[in-house]
């Protein structure tokens, strides 16, 4: 049973992540007065990329991208997906937080090996951005952990199920708002789409990736979207008892993020970091403070 869950959970994340990619293209197209591609278009793209000749720049280049992808898959194992959580027993939030930094790290190896200036700029932007959203994210996670007195995601979800969603309770509503503010940054969408920024640094870290390497990067992007939303739904919106409800909640959040994505241009990296360290951090900090004070 555990083995089945270990396989099923990443697979579900993969499918939903790719569905999100397709949905985002369709959704954006409709906002832009277009018909848009079919929903399964990302699948075709990924298939195409996997069957193309790919140029490798060395062993480290290969390892880096695999590390990135693997880290994302590992995170997925720790996230409850509507009652389905293969790694419910251990680590929990702390592992998630730690692994989230591995994705840019792996990409840094790849980008460093490819020796493209755009890639190095993109990677440095990614680290700066990660630094920007990790601070408020940590504060949000701390608030939630303090409130429920546990680091286990499953227990947090269970606690919310017995009472009410965190975002509906007083001090945690601030953490929820803070998380909403950093969500596009976690998912790499506008206005924080500074890492790829095709018009500025031609896809940044992806610039030298071709063929299956790009396919893996695309899958990783899909997973990071899944992780960003799934964290919110689990931590602050009560999770769900069955996968269907969970998916529904994720879709609602995804539509919200896409709407922001469609309505704003991209920030410059220094502006992004200034924003992230100002409002979300402040709100998250106040939230944490209140949780600590009221919790006593």
């Amino acid at each position: 049973m555990q083995v089945l869950r270990l396989i099923l959970s990443p697979l579900a994340a993969l499918v939903i992540g790719i569905l999100f990619l397709g949905l985002s293209r369709k959704f954006m197209a409709r906002i832009q007065w277009r018909y848009g591609p079919p929903l399964y278009q990302p699948l075709i793209d990924i298939l195409r990329l996997f069957t193309q000749r790919s140029v490798s720049h060395g062993v480290v280049f290969d390892l880096g991208i695999i590390l990135t992808l693997a880290a994302s898959f590992v995170i997925v194992l720790f996230l409850p997906f509507g009652g389905l959580c293969p790694m419910s027993g251990s680590g929990g939030l702390l592992v998630v937080l730690y692994m989230m930094l591995l994705a840019p790290l792996g990409m840094a190896l790849t980008a460093g090996e490819s020796a493209n200036p755009n890639s190095s700029i993109g990677i440095s932007r990614w680290f700066i951005l990660a630094l920007g959203y990790e601070v408020p994210l940590l504060l949000v996670l701390l608030a939630v952990m303090t409130r429920y007195d546990t680091i286990s995601l499953v227990e947090i979800v269970a606690a919310q199920r017995s009472h009410t969603s965190s975002i509906a309770t007083f001090p945690l509503v601030l953490s929820g708002v803070a998380y909403l503010l950093i969500m596009p940054a976690v998912m790499g969408l506008r206005p924080f789409e500074v890492v790829q920024a095709p018009q500025e640094i031609s896809s940044g870290p992806m610039a030298e990736l071709g063929g299956r390497y790009l396919a893996m990067a695309t899958v990783q992007h899909a997973l990071s979207m899944f992780i960003g939303i799934s964290l919110f739904v689990n931590l602050l919106w009560g999770g769900a008892s069955n996968p269907l409800v969970f998916l529904l909640k994720m879709l609602v959040m995804f539509a919200l993020v896409l709407w922001v994505n469609a309505a704003f241009p991209r920030l410059r990296i220094d502006q992004a970091i200034r924003f992230l360290w100002r409002w979300p951090t402040f709100v998250a900090f106040v939230g944490l403070l209140l949780v600590v004070v009221i919790g006593d």
Binding site: P117, P198, S202, A262, P265, R266, R268, I269
Partner: protein, 365 residues
Amino acid sequence: MRELDLYFGPQHLGMVGNFSITLTVEGDRIMRAAANPGYLHRGFEKLMELRSWIKDFPLVCRMNVVEPDSMEMIYAMGVEKLAGIEVPERAEFIRSIYLEMARVGSHLFGLWAYANMLGFDTVAQWAMYHRDLLLDRFEELTGGRVYHIYIWPGGVRRDFPEGFEERLVETLHAIGGCVPDYDAAFFNNPIFRERAKGVGTVTREDALAMGGTGQVMRATGMAYDIRKVDPYAAYDRVPWEVPTREDGDAYSRIQIVRDEMIESVHMIFNLLDAMPQGPVYERTPNPLKWRIPKGDAYVRCESSRGELGVYILSNGGESPHRVHFRTPSYPHGLTVLEKALVGESISDVGNIMISMYVVAPEIDR
């Protein structure tokens, strides 16, 4: 921190046109910038010396693909000046309307490029859609979507077709009706303001010294517009204003583009109201054997990017002896841009370049 050479373009998603800039960067700051044109050099002016006066018209409009109409206009003005042709009154009005349509279309293209550069696909797509509505009107009037070859020496090729005025007004209303949407989504967007304010500032002194015209000049508060300074076509027959801003940054330049589009649409309405009846072209000699008297002339007009001029010299032959175009992007893309980029962030290269509306083919010619 070590300095790094970065090649921006020619194959680059943020680069509109085939153009390249070599940046010397230190971290995210640009220390030096060297424009590297020539990717689109076709030697137009040489080719024109080999073709007859009338055969140069298809060539001349290819010089700038974004707004070929002002190119036709300036060359026709040069030929008319040398040959001493008077243009009928109605043709002057039609030319003005046509050029203003082209200006709106060109600005919408610029808006597409600019919004796209900032990663703002939504507005970019809208702008391109609206430009396409306008291209339909061009197609109806001239038969071509992009290259029209509508202005000839002595007037225009043909009169407005039946009912064209109404359809043009309808199209312009459709575009103008979306101005509040554009304002809400783009021009008043706080993040856009954050991105564009104080970026790529060109002071009045720099603009004067470097040959800035068009938005670059008007963004520094100087109402320099050839349509007012040296009126041509029918621009002195209707009232209109030159929009200006004071700050000289990318934000002011884009605001001027917005204001100019609105002003142009209003101008078209005024021109349509005041348009007289009459012939639309003056008969010219057999164009295949046309010899133009000796002489030289410098004529200029206001394109959507700034002052467009041509120095044209005839030695009495069947083709020009020398034609030299003074295109607005030439100083903007080579001197002003190199200066404005210094000290800015890499993220803003395309931002600054497109806010000056640098169109590569007219630099290279």
